[in-house]
Amino acid sequence: MAVYSLRRILWESYPILVLCAVISLSAGLILDSQMGSIKAFPLILVMVPPINGINNNVCSILGARLASALHMGTVEPKLGKQKVLRKNTRATWLMSIGVFWFTSAIFFGMALITGMGLSRSIMLMFAFFAASMVAIAVTMGCTIGLAFLSYIRGLDPDNVVIPIVTSIGDVMGVTCLIIAIKIVMGV
């Protein structure tokens, strides 16, 4: 007996992928509406794939870990004091802080090399870091909520939770990035 059915994979995945495309399109719309700022400050474009990609990776890891923990019974689908859930969220926070500091430092270096000046380069580094922290906090909250919901409803986290979380992550990433750059860099 075949374990995988082509029809089943397609039938289960396509509607979710379209839903995700619609959510991610709003991230595209936000970028398009800010074309003026992007022209004035093209470094925003360099920052879009990193903030979205890292945010999505961190939350995908959390989502996958929570799905496994829920199936093993070490995490229960309720909010409140739970040791394993707390350890997982703390680990996710520490990882995000580490990787986003690293990325912010690279942007600082890039800004400095392209002649932005020391003080503006430092401001840019903090803008990116602040944007990424707000984006990751919201996306992490959505990940925990959706992981619980999918477990209660019996949906496959690989095919449902992670795609939706990464699309929400795109919108959060782009929104926080644009707001932070506008406030801090004044473009």
Partner: protein, 191 residues
């Protein structure tokens, strides 16, 4: 996923394992960002509306290949797929389904971008250009990525890497980079 492996649950272990792969991903994402920045002329002038399709296309690649990597990881752990590079029926179904999904979903994204762009009054939107770029970039990066995913999933299994923590993020990131390159090349060649 869902394989009941006893995992060491120390915050330190998770962070050290996760950070190593995330730092690598961060560097690849910055390269992807540089490719996007090089397209600023096309995005602003020659291909208005293309930017709408970029977040969904990047996201799509991560979703399809992250799920493929995850499914292969589970299949390898449960012995459904053998860790060698031969085309079994199960492997074939997984690869073909990700190809078909790439085509269908990329085409849908192209059409949605055009529809939403028209709705929000983005002028001189190049319908044929955007749909063509979405489909070609989606399918080309999909074919390359599916091959890389199979190799990485098998390599990761043999090495004992966790598919949830290592393979899926790595594939999503390589996917972002390859998709950006594909969009860039197709945009230059087509328009």
């Amino acid at each position: 996923m869902g394989v009941a492996m006893p995992r060491e649950l120390s915050v330190k272990t998770i962070v050290i394992q996760g950070l190593a792969i995330l730092l690598l991903c961060a560097i690849i994402e910055i390269f992807a960002g540089n490719v996007l920045e090089r397209m600023k002329e096309q995005l602003a002038v020659t291909l208005p509306g293309l930017i709408l399709a970029i977040p969904p296309l990047l996201d799509l690649r991560g979703n399809i290949n992250g799920a493929l990597a995850s499914r292969l990881g589970t299949a390898l752990n449960t012995g459904v797929i053998e860790p060698k590079l031969s085309m079994s029926a199960e492997l074939k179904v997984n690869i073909i389904s990700s190809m078909i999904l790439s085509f269908l979903a990329s085409a849908t994204i192209g059409l949605l971008a055009v529809g939403v762009g028209t709705l929000f009054g983005i002028t001189s939107i190049n319908v044929l250009g955007i749909v063509t770029i979405a489909i070609i970039a989606g399918v080309v990066s999909g074919i390359i990525l599916a091959a890389i995913t199979v190799v990485v999933a098998i390599f990761a299994y043999v090495r004992g890497w966790d598919p949830d923590n290592v393979t899926a993020p790595l594939m999503a990131t390589i996917g972002d980079f390859l998709t950006m390159i594909s969009i860039f090349l197709v945009a230059i060649l087509v328009v």
